[in-house]
């Protein structure tokens, strides 16, 4: 279980997160929705150890997480960053190798096999530079690369950003599939409809504060959420 308590994060004078608290039970999908600039990336980067909080705690199974990003990965938490950030001049296969940087070679070969089974297109393009892949393929690669560390918890930062609707659906199916295989998911998204649909529990982040929380279904029915994040349409779809 991952717990975020009383998190205060600031960049210089700009406070990006105010007293943020959330709980991520093992095996679940937790979504955090919020518009651009709400503080979603800051939240994930703080959990990942890239950004140091001014105050507050991030606990994994009751213990404080290390405050350096490479140690967070060793603790079992991996981030799939916003904008995919594949290593564009490295081959697809080398990107996966980077994902398994901390893993023993024998184990990583097995995981690589699994990732290639999950994404046959990546196997076909394994020798190709990652920068030449389409946006959707790059997102698959970014997720596959994250899986290479065999994480307990995967943090996904706007995985649907800039993708065609059909691909977005594929990405969300995939997130559910990864979750079913036992990986806890923290998903931050502007695409509220999809993010709430897959979530066991969700939070709404506005200007750095958690303003609402509830199960995905509850939030999808909430009139405020509907007005602000679901375009005022019926949320049943």
């Amino acid at each position: 279980m991952l717990e975020v308590k009383n998190l205060q994060v600031a960049y210089g004078r700009i406070q990006a997160l105010h007293d943020v608290a959330l709980t991520v039970p093992g095996g679940k999908i937790i979504s955090v929705i919020g518009s651009n600039g709400a503080g979603k990336t800051t939240l994930l980067n703080t959990i990942s150890g890239l950004v140091r909080p001014r105050d507050g705690q991030v606990l994994l199974d009751g213990k404080a997480l290390p405050s350096a990003a490479h140690l967070t990965v060793a603790a079992g938490i991996v981030q799939v960053p916003e904008g995919r950030k594949v290593f564009s001049s490295l081959s697809v296969d080398e990107n996966l190798t980077m994902g398994a940087y901390l893993t023993k070679r024998g184990d990583s070969n097995r995981t690589r096999q699994q990732v290639y089974e999950m994404f046959p297109i990546l196997k076909q393009r394994s020798g190709q530079a990652a920068g030449t892949l389409s946006g959707g393929e790059q997102q698959m690669l970014a997720i596959g690369r994250g899986l290479m560390s065999s994480p307990k918890i995967m943090l996904l930062d706007e995985p649907s950003l800039g993708l065609a609707p059909k691909i977005v659906t594929q990405v969300f199916d995939l997130i559910e599939r990864i979750n079913r295989s036992g990986v806890t998911i923290v998903l931050v998204e502007q695409n509220a409809r999809k993010a709430l649909a897959v979530a066991d529990y969700a939070y709404v982040l506005e200007n750095g504060r958690i303003v609402l929380e509830g199960t995905g279904a509850e939030l999808a029915r909430n009139p405020k959420v509907e007005a602000a994040y679901l375009g005022g349409q019926a949320s049943g779809a």
Binding site: A69, V78, K85, F87, S89, L90, T97, M98, S149
Partner: protein
């Protein structure tokens, strides 16, 4: 004039490629650090200079032969570069300092390392003991000194090992990943402090090797490190961001330089080279290799 004219040209090209091979060592070492930290590291020249002196004293006092001298100088370069990273650049990185601080620090380190040499060895010139035969090999009408052959062979071996390491070792792949994106590399569980240090080490090895080779072919003086400018020019010509581009840029620079010197003498040719570089960059700002500046901003 026909035949002898062309044999002179071919001769100069061979000389230029030999010189360019050493410039390529400088340029690639320079580009390695640029790619990861995005600043022009002129302290590379200081590392080169000290390594050249280390090689000189290893030959003179320890009576080492050619290969050990090359290895000692190369290793010295790697270690000194690590020291420079640790002392000068690490704290700027921790404070997330702007690129201009890195740049200014690197120039300061170049001057500091030069001054260290002046303090210990004075401003005088030294000549390496003879480590290789001074004879020349003649192929057809082209002759090439054994030293030039050494320069080409040593560079080729160094680049072979480097290419292998960057492609097939875990740290090598991580250095390439870090050249794409240091933060995301960190998110893969890579300790970036270590990768930056490793990058300086590899870059310093190349500086060390080029230092010994330059020391053997010229005389040794504290300002020998200013030859780092050749590596800088070559890596800009090649396209900042590309190691292969930097090496090609260096070969081109070596050839052009030798040809120009033979035509107009060594007084005028540096000015012409700078002018050519400016024109080239106006026409093709992304350099030979076509990596755009924006991508690396």
């Amino acid at each position: 004039m026909g035949d002898s004219f062309w044999s002179v040209v071919v001769q100069q090209i061979v000389n230029g490629v030999s010189l360019g091979a050493v410039y390529a060592l400088i340029a690639v070492g320079f580009a390695l650090v640029f790619n990861v930290l995005k600043f022009s590291n002129f302290s590379h020249g200081g590392v080169l200079a000290i390594s050249a002196y280390v090689g000189y004293f290893a030959a003179l006092k320890l009576h080492l032969s050619l290969i050990p001298v090359l290895l000692v100088g190369t290793l010295a370069g790697g270690l000194i570069a690590c020291g420079v990273e640790f002392v000068a650049f690490r704290s700027i990185r921790k404070k997330r300092g702007q690129l201009v601080y890195f740049f200014v620090t690197s120039v300061t380190m170049l001057m500091l390392l030069e001054q260290v040499l002046v303090i210990f060895f004075g401003a005088s010139f030294f000549t390496y003991p003879r480590l290789i035969s001074l004879t020349t090999l003649t192929i057809g009408q082209v002759s090439i000194s054994v030293l030039y052959v050494l320069m080409m062979v040593a560079s080729a071996i160094a680049f072979g090992v480097l290419a292998w390491a960057l492609r097939f070792t875990r740290v090598g792949i991580a250095i390439r990943a870090a050249s794409n994106d240091l933060i995301t590399t960190n998110l893969m569980g890579v300790n970036v402090d270590f990768i930056v240090l490793a990058t300086f080490f590899v870059s310093g090895l190349l500086a060390g090797l080029s230092g010994v080779l330059l020391g053997m072919s010229y005389t040794l003086y504290p300002q020998i490190g200013q030859l780092v400018v050749k590596g800088f020019i070559a890596s800009v010509l090649g396209g900042l961001g590309s190691l292969v581009g930097a090496a090609l840029g260096a070969l081109a620079l070596g050839v052009v330089e030798v040809l120009l010197i033979s035509v107009m003498g060594s007084g005028l040719s540096p000015a012409v080279i700078f002018a050519m570089m400016v024109i080239f960059l106006l026409v093709r700002p992304q350099g030979f290799a076509g990596v755009s500046f924006q991508e690396k901003a």
